[in-house]
Structures are given as structure tokens and as C-alpha cells.
Symmetry: C2
Subunit: 471 residues, 2 copies
């Protein structure tokens, strides 16, 4: 599939690059790293896209570091790429034109927690697990869970979401304000701690999901929630994907405030049974989580149970005991590893699309038919309350025929989702991998607008060039 | 206060204006209106800002009409201003440089309702009451309620919210996608019907709250909700504003999914008693609404009652009977008229700020002290779950001294909110009235960014010039 990645980017002149690296070395000493190993660690590694390492990495410790890196890069017109944990899936941290990677992992301070206001102010390198660890004693948590222990800066930059989004929203709904280092090193403040505002253009949302192409996030103010009094987990098998989707639609429509509702298709359940030594019926499975008071959670479970029964659901198991909850969700947590184990040594390409929920059953069913026809293995898990699902496609990079079939599959998957009124990515972002699909989804006028915005805020094109908008 | 409105805008050359109006007349016939009366109706009338009528009004009936008006205005470089219902409060529909007003009231078709997906596609002139009327039979509703029966296009353009926002979010959280006519008359599609997306820059949010300064919204896809099985209304008086705010904070923090939580300060309760012939204790009052199943609503009410008692709340009344609910909320619904009745003939200036909820009691209390010191009358109502409150200031435009005191009050109100980490407007927008406060809130870098965005998407500065970003 590597043939589909191209860019018209040109690398900086060697002279300019040398100038930038010399200036950075003078400023950052041994926090500027140019070793091959470290550069490769900072190229994209978790997906099918070939790694494109930066020319150097700077380990930032504070906002002034970001400002100085950006100023030096701007002076020499060298690309600058922000790096959190490197868990993005569409090549967001690759350096197709080389340049300087700013590693933000050491900017991991929680600057303030405002428990009464349910918000906190953090540096971009704070990871979601570290944040939730920090918050637990105060009875608070940050609800967005994309699976990986990603940094909050990275999650913001890719507009991440995950299993809890059906109830709590995505990063889009949970970032109140940002500080962003712009091209001249000065800092844009996008908002306040007020929960809502009508004060001017929504700069916050412009930087959420911009994948570091418009500036570098140096500080975040994000929303928190109270840890629910009671958490219940539930599981229910269905004869068909359609039944599981119908139950999901009815649950959402009747306003059950389900906190998670995850679909595992039959292939995924089978893989989980093998990997996690479970004995789940090898048919589509819904895993759910309910949050609230004891009474509310019981009510939600009861209501969902009735819906599930009407939609051909089998036994409905639910529990509030933490150890039983963990057991029930085991299959979901092991999903990625269970796919890896299906064919050890093979790569796993993770991709996602999102469709209006009424089309979800069609979309998953047709996708399963495609997989069969193309003789490919790709279990499916879905954040079905949002109409969002993932394919974990096994791909042997040395098998040209399988790679070609994989590419056909991916194209068809995206085209199908778009034809159903959906999007080419619900939560992974565009990066390099999905640039070719953006125009079909939104039209040339939207791309014109995006190009105009990029030019307006990054006229030198130094911020993560070659991402999101095709040249 | 009129002295504070200024702009460096220049009107179009008479020749250019005549060219535009002639072309519009040829295209639209008697749907182009230039009578003084109609032009004045389309200038801003609901606030303290002096009306600035457009040079002509076009009654649009379909998207092609908007496109042609924009093309003609672009050709002659004449301003073009979108008009919904004219209920905005900061001069958003004024025409400080003249130009053409596009009245969108006849673009009021509901194009599609997708009940399973909980979304619908509408034209911009659909009002929220008309939409909810249309949806009722399907058990659905659109939750954003700013009070006025505003158009959904206008509500989007001003990033409106209102009483239900504490549970359902503002327009920011409830618009999925827009179609926007850009400067050359072509249409930008900003998103799909997918509930979430990571596909490129968030154009949807860029146009939400842009007050028509970046293009004209011609179609909206918005989120709907199921009408709750049970709605309960509740009321509780408090000795102090601080007690009412503390109860609100605890309710939010413990995750009670309250649908509305409105504060009326003592002055507002007094005004309501007089106007609506009620006998409420003349102390701060919280009015609440709970949505859910019968059991959930009972649970929420019970939990809130306990919190209220801990915070010095008095009798807690709650009911699910529609007629009793209406009675309980009577005071809130009559708030505006009750203020008008305090001094018949006097103007009422509505303004709003929003602060982190932990600072709300301080902010309201200090505001009340200011009113006393300045000898001004301004009852306060607040969407306190969001930290947002409104002052309804009585102002006699012929009393220069009162106007000066009113201006001082408004300045201090905004400065106080901003000093507390809040915003100069939670839901009314910037328009003309609050431009002078934007830089203090976000800094010059944010304003630079906003100017760059405006220039990128509206290089001719034809879309609603003189709004949001100070020249």
C-alpha cells in the first residue's frame, strides 16, 4: 500500500537544515538528539505507513522550549513536528520532508485541578492514564479513552475519542481552551475556563484535530467528570450484526445514557475466545458499561435488557463488581492482541470509519462480505453508539497480492462509509494515510477552505507539512 | 452608550451600490425590497445599539438565491448580511457600512428527519419552535432553547445556547454539519451526518459562532434527542446566592444530569412576584428541570433535594404534571416582561457573561453590589449550571447620567468575569457590542489569528463587515 503515499514536499536545503540544527544544539545541548535510533523511534511505527524519521529530536521541558524550537525552525524554514507518544495511526508524526521533532513527553505536569469547576490545566505530554491516576483521589476522571495511553496533546491534535465517547463526547467536546505556539513563537490563547462562550471565532476547535499543522499545543484546559458512584458492565450476544445494531439504535433513541457500547463481530469474538481462553458464543457481541447511581445503573441495565431481548439478543449478563466487570470486558481489552495472535509475525493495519448509526449494520455486513470475497482476515470492533468501527486487517508486507487486496478493501471500506453519509475516519485522523479520501467526502470547496486556513496560520508551511490537506 | 460603537468601515461607492441593487432587482424582482420601513425592520432593534439599516433586503427562497446575492455583492464589493429573526442582542444584523440583507425566513423547510440517527437536515430559516412542532409526532426534539423563537441558522451563527445547555450542550455541540455559501457563491460542505469525525480541520465549528462573517449558512444538519419519558420541574429558594450556587456545583459534581438549572436573584424574584402575581420568597431561587425515565427523574429530584438542604435551601417543590410544571416555571418565562414592567417605557439592555462555576457566587454577588452602588436596576437570571448569567439593565436613553452609569456597570461586569477566568459573553456573541472586550480576554495573538481567518475566507470583507473582530 506504500505506493499510495506521496507528497510534493521538498526537504529543506542542507545549509538551512545545518543552520537550524546548529542553533538548536547551541540552545538545547544534549536535549537535541540526532542519533539514528532516536530519530527512528520518533518516526511513525504503529501502522502500515513507512517510517519517515525527522532529522533531529528536541526533548522539550517547558513552553519556552517549544517557542525556541519553532523560532529556529521558522528562521531556517525547517519543518517542526510535535510528538506525544507516537500512537497515532495515520502517519501523523512522520517527517516526509525531514525537520525537527519536538518530543513533549517531559512536559507532563498537571498545572492545576479545579475540582469545583470540573476542569484541569495540563501540559501536552500528560498521558490519559497518568492524568486519571493524578485525579483519582479527588473523585474525578477524564473520560476519553482511545485505548492507547496517549498524551492529551496528541489526543487533542488528532481529535481522538474511543469507547466512552457515546456518553462523554470526543476530544472535540472536552477541550475548553488551548495555548498554541504559532509560527513566530508567540502564543495564541484560544479560550477561557468558562464552560461555554460565544466570544469570536472558535479557535479552540480549529486546533483540535489539526494534527499539529497550524501550531503546537503547549497547554490544555480540559473538562473532567466525577467518578460515577456505580459502574456496571454488561454483555449480550446477538445472532446478527443487524440485531446488535438495532439494539444500539433503540438504546440511544430511548435516551439510555450508556457509557460504552462496543460491538465485536463474530470474527473478533472467535479471535478473543482463542486468545483469552473464553467461551463466548461466536456470534456478534455487545459489551456495555453503565455509569450512575446504583438505582440509575440498575434502571439502565433493565431497560437495555428489554431492548436486547426484542432485538434477538441472547443471555444478558450484568454486574457491578469490579473483578467481574474486568472479566466481562477482557475480550474487548485483548482485541488487538487477539488479532495479532491470529497470524503471528503478520502486520495489523488498524483503520476506522464512521457512519450514521442507521447504516451501521449495512456497513459492517457489507464489509464482512468484502473480507470474505477478498480472502482477507480483519476482525471488527466498533464504538457502535457513535456508528464508528475499526477493522484490524492482517497484512503481510512481503505478500504483494495480499497487500493489493488489502488496499482494495480499504478503498472500498472508505467509499462505502462515505456513500452512506459517513466519514473516512471517526477518530484516527487524516495524517498521511487518508488524504486521498478527503475531497470525496467534503468536496473541493472544503479543501480550498482548509488550504486557505493552513496558509493563513502557517504561511511558511513549517508545521507538520504533508499532513491532512493534499498538496 | 452609543459612543462605544465605532468602526472604520467605509460604505460602498454609490455607483457600486447602485450596480448591485440594479442587478439584484433584475434577478429578484419584488423580492428585492428597498423601502425604508422594511430596511429598518432588518436593522438591529432588540438592544441598546443604534439601528443601522441595510440598503436593501432580499427575501431568499432557496440556496440559489443566497448564491446569487453573494455573487452580485462580491462583484460590486457590497456588504452582505444574513438575517434570521433579528433576535440577536449585540448588533449582529446591523449594517454599519450598508449593504444587502438576505432575509432567510422563507427558507424554512425541514429537508429530512433521520429518526434512527437522531439528526435532521434543515434550511437556515427554520425556527426552533417550528422545528419542535415538526418533530413532536416522532417523539423527538431539538434541545437548544435560547428563549426567543430564533432561527436555527441564526442560533448557529451566534453559537446560541440557553436553559437546556447544562445537559444538552450549546449549538457548538449540536450542529453536525453545515453548507455555507462562500464569497464566489460556491458552497462549502463542512461535514457529514456521522456523529463524530477526525477528517481534517473542523470547518463546522469555524462557522458556528462566526456571526455570518465568513460566509452564509444555507443548510444545517443538527442533532436531535428523544423526548424524555418523564419531565419533572422543581423549585427551591435559598437564603443567599452563594447557597444556590453551591447547590448547583454539588449537583454538577455528583453527576446529576439536570436538564435545566436556573438562578433568579432576589431582585428578579421580586419583579416576577409583582408581574406574575406570585408569592415566592423574595430571596434567590433555583428552578430546575429533570429529564429521564420516571425512576431516574425521581432519583435525580431526591438527590438534588438532599444537596439543596445541605446548602441552606428552603422548601423543595417538584412535580411531573405538565400544568404544575408550567406554573413552577412561570416566573422564569416571564422574567423579561417582569423587568420591562418595573419601569414602563424604559429600555432593557440584556447582557451576559460566563465564569467558571466556582466563581459564580462571587461574580453575581459583586455584580449586585455594583448595581446598588451605581443606583441601577438590573435583575439577574442565570443558566447557573454553566456559570452563565444575564443582567437585564433598565436604561433610559434620555438620561445621560443613567446611561453613563450603565456603561460603567457593563464594563465592570465584563472585566470582573474575565478576571475570574471567564468570558465576556457565554451566549449572546460579540457582534458590535462586545468587540472592545475581546482582546482583553484572549490576547492580541488570538485576534491576529481571527483576522487572518477572516482574510483567508473573506478576502473582500463582504460578509457582515464590522462584526466580531475590531478593525
Amino acid at each position: 500500500m506504500a505506493t499510495t503515499i506521496s507528497s510534493n514536499l521538498t526537504r529543506p536545503e542542507p545549509q538551512a537544515l545545518k543552520g537550524a540544527i546548529d542553533a538548536l544544539a547551541a540552545r538545547f545541548g544534549n536535549r537535541l538528539i540526532t542519533s539514528q535510533a532516536v530519530r527512528e523511534q520518533h518516526a511513525h511505527t504503529t501502522t502500515w505507513l513507512p517510517p519517515q524519521p525527522p532529522d533531529a529530536v528536541v526533548m522539550a521541558q517547558e513552553t519556552a522550549d517549544i517557542q525556541d524550537v519553532v523560532r529556529i525552525c521558522a528562521k531556517y524554514r525547517v519543518p517542526v513536528i510535535a510528538f506525544g507518544t507516537g500512537t497515532s495511526l495515520e502517519g501523523q508524526v512522520n517527517a516526509p520532508a525531514g525537520g525537527i521533532c519536538i518530543d513533549l513527553r517531559d512536559m507532563n505536569r498537571v498545572l492545576a485541578v479545579h475540582a469545583e469547576d470540573l476542569d484541569c490545566v495540563i501540559e501536552p505530554g500528560v498521558t490519559r492514564k497518568a492524568l486519571n491516576e493524578h485525579l483519582r483521589d479527588q473523585g474525578l476522571f477524564f473520560p476519553i479513552d482511545p485505548g492507547a495511553d496517549a498524551s492529551l496533546g496528541g489526543m487533542t491534535a488528532t481529535r481522538a475519542s474511543g469507547t466512552n465517547a457515546v456518553r462523554y463526547g470526543t476530544m472535540r467536546e472536552n477541550v475548553l481552551a488551548l495555548k498554541v505556539v504559532r509560527g513566530d513563537g508567540e502564543i495564541i490563547t484560544t479560550g477561557t475556563r468558562a464552560k461555554k462562550s460565544s466570544a469570536g471565532y472558535d479557535l479552540t476547535h480549529l486546533f483540535i484535530g489539526a494534527e499539529g499543522t497550524l501550531g503546537i499545543i503547549s497547554e490544555l484546559t480540559i473538562r473532567l467528570r466525577g467518578i460515577p458512584e456505580t459502574i456496571a458492565a454488561a454483555a449480550c450476544s446477538f445472532e446478527t450484526v443487524r440485531g446488535a445494531c438495532q439494539a444500539t439504535i433503540l438504546a440511544i433513541q430511548t435516551g439510555i445514557p450508556v457509557a460504552r457500547i462496543e460491538l465485536l463481530n463474530a470474527a473478533q469474538v472467535k479471535a478473543c475466545n482463542a486468545y483469552s481462553k473464553l467461551s463466548l458464543p461466536e456470534t456478534p457481541l455487545l459489551l456495555l458499561e453503565f455509569h450512575g447511581s446504583e438505582i440509575e445503573v440498575a434502571e439502565q441495565s433493565k431497560n437495555f435488557k428489554e431492548i436486547a431481548a426484542d432485538c434477538g439478543g441472547g443471555d444478558f449478563t450484568w454486574t457491578t463488581r469490579p473483578e467481574d466487570r474486568t472479566k466481562l470486558w477482557q475480550a474487548r481489552h485483548d482485541a488487538y492482541w487477539s488479532v495479532k495472535a491470529l497470524r503471528p509475525g503478520s502486520g495489523v493495519v488498524a483503520t476506522d470509519v464512521c457512519v450514521p448509526i442507521s447504516r451501521l449494520a449495512d456497513c459492517v455486513t457489507e464489509t464482512e462480505e468484502d473480507l470474505k470475497r477478498l480472502n482477507l482476515i480483519s476482525p471488527i470492533v466498533g464504538h457502535v453508539g457513535d456508528g464508528n468501527f475499526h477493522c484490524s486487517l492482517l497484512c503481510d508486507v512481503d505478500d504483494a497480492d495480499e497487500m493489493a487486496r488489502g488496499e482494495e478493501f480499504m478503498h472500498r471500506l472508505v467509499e462505502r462509509a462515505q456513500a452512506m453519509g459517513g466519514t473516512c475516519t471517526g477518530e484516527h485522523g487524516i495524517g498521511q494515510g487518508k488524504q486521498k479520501y478527503l475531497e470525496a467526502e467534503l468536496g473541493p470547496e472544503a479543501l480550498d477552505a482548509m488550504r486557505a486556513l493552513k496558509k493563513a496560520l502557517d504561511p511558511q508551511n513549517i508545521f507538520n507539512p504533508g499532513k491532512i490537506v493534499p498538496a
